[in-house]
Symmetry: C2
Subunit: 247 residues, 2 copies
């Protein structure tokens, strides 16, 4: 029997995937330049075969681009690309919310969603200030469960994919409290939105659930715009922003 959480026996391909992704996110490769397989494989201590497999997956994810003449390079993301990614994720998540409302969500999942809301409440009202890590992880769980409430396997997969895209994740800008103005208020606002979204789903109000989920994504978009326009220096703290390039 396998361990339920983490600690699975990773094979070489999975190791390569994790290692490569973190190298890319950290900006270890010059963007626009082909990334050399032999050098990387030696650096990761694996052979080229599983490395290339991992590269293929990252191409599918959109983190790497295939070069016509052979090999891959790190993808370049403009501010517009990232804004689009956030918006598209919001639209798809809105559709998940609408599906959940129209079709009627599974009661067990709904109960679970409510308990996640409580977890977020707790994280926000710790005596010594906000429990930041707890918030991020519960926030992620909430967005994940919205996908599952839709009852659509395809929807779950698509939202998982979208969350992988750099900076499109619902928690992408929550990595550093200093980054965003009125930070605590922003988190509480987001949590109020979470609650209304879930209420709309529970009340079977499809269109409303969809609109609210989209509105929720606009918060992430606003944070992103603020970050890149007002605090470009601090923005470097956000993992994945190393991939951001000028138009």
């Amino acid at each position: 029997m396998e361990a339920a959480l983490g600690s699975k026996h990773l094979n070489q391909t999975e190791k390569a995937l994790i290692g490569l992704r973190s190298m890319i996110m950290a900006g270890r490769f010059k963007t626009g330049q082909r990334l050399p397989e032999i050098a990387v494989s030696e650096q990761l201590g694996i052979s080229r075969t599983p490395l290339r497999q991992a590269m293929d997956r990252l191409v599918a994810e959109g983190l790497l681009d295939r070069i016509s003449t052979g090999g891959c390079r790190v993808a370049r993301f403009t501010k517009e690309d990232i804004a689009d990614a956030i918006q598209i994720r919001g639209v798809i998540e809105g559709t998940a919310a609408r599906m959940a409302a129209e079709r009627g969500a599974d009661p067990d999942l709904l109960a679970h969603a409510k308990s996640i809301l409580s977890q977020i409440d707790t994280a926000l009202s710790e005596s010594g200030g906000i429990d930041f890590d707890a918030y991020v992880s519960a926030n992620r769980a909430f967005h994940d469960i919205i996908a599952h409430l839709s009852g659509s396997a395809l929807m779950i997969r698509e939202l998982e994919r979208m969350a992988q895209l750099p900076l499109a994740s619902p928690s992408a800008f929550l990595s550093d409290q200093e980054l965003i103005p009125d930070f605590q208020e922003s988190l509480k606002h987001a949590q109020r939105q979470h609650r209304t979204i879930l209420e709309a789903i529970e009340n079977r109000e499809g269109s409303r659930a969809e609109a609210l989920a989209r509105e929720h994504a606009r918060l992430a978009l606003m944070n992103f715009n603020y970050l890149t326009e007002q605090k470009p220096a601090l923005a470097k703290n956000v993992p994945g922003l190393a991939l951001l390039t000028e138009k």
Copy 2:
């Protein structure tokens, strides 16, 4: 210099991809059973390495599922899965239309879109009846250009991906004129929708463009439902329907 259209020098991986996809679509593998790499590679006349690469890509596309104990199997799609795929594609395409309208589409692309509409008109009004192949190809081009009108590279990629999913493509049910009732009228109805979508984009009516594109996808959904519920026998003619399984 490379040939602009088709006939590129395919490498082994691309050959494997094409071959495997058609084998899968044709239902050559028992669903739910692991597909054997050596046998398939011999059948395609390529070695295992590029075949495995192709398999990885098909996993990313969703046509194959990875098996925990090793290897892949052909994915199973229920009617609900396919209905969801059509709906989600409609939502994303709607977002593309809205983006195009709100941001203002490129004039050259708009002109091209109009010429595609004319092509569809021509295909529909051939003296000897509808020019079916011309319609399908122009229809595909129209949906492709909607993605490009959005001006978002990510959007273009996502819609390309969605179109690959079995039966989510806008032309998926146009493979056989016998399948759908009032076939000619259905095509003309779709073409009227194409025109209104483009008009909304041109007039910068974002919400309207989005709603119209969604409505357009509902036509595909209705055709699918009609097909599976009323004419299950004829449905076998539709490529990809071999993957359809019971709940």
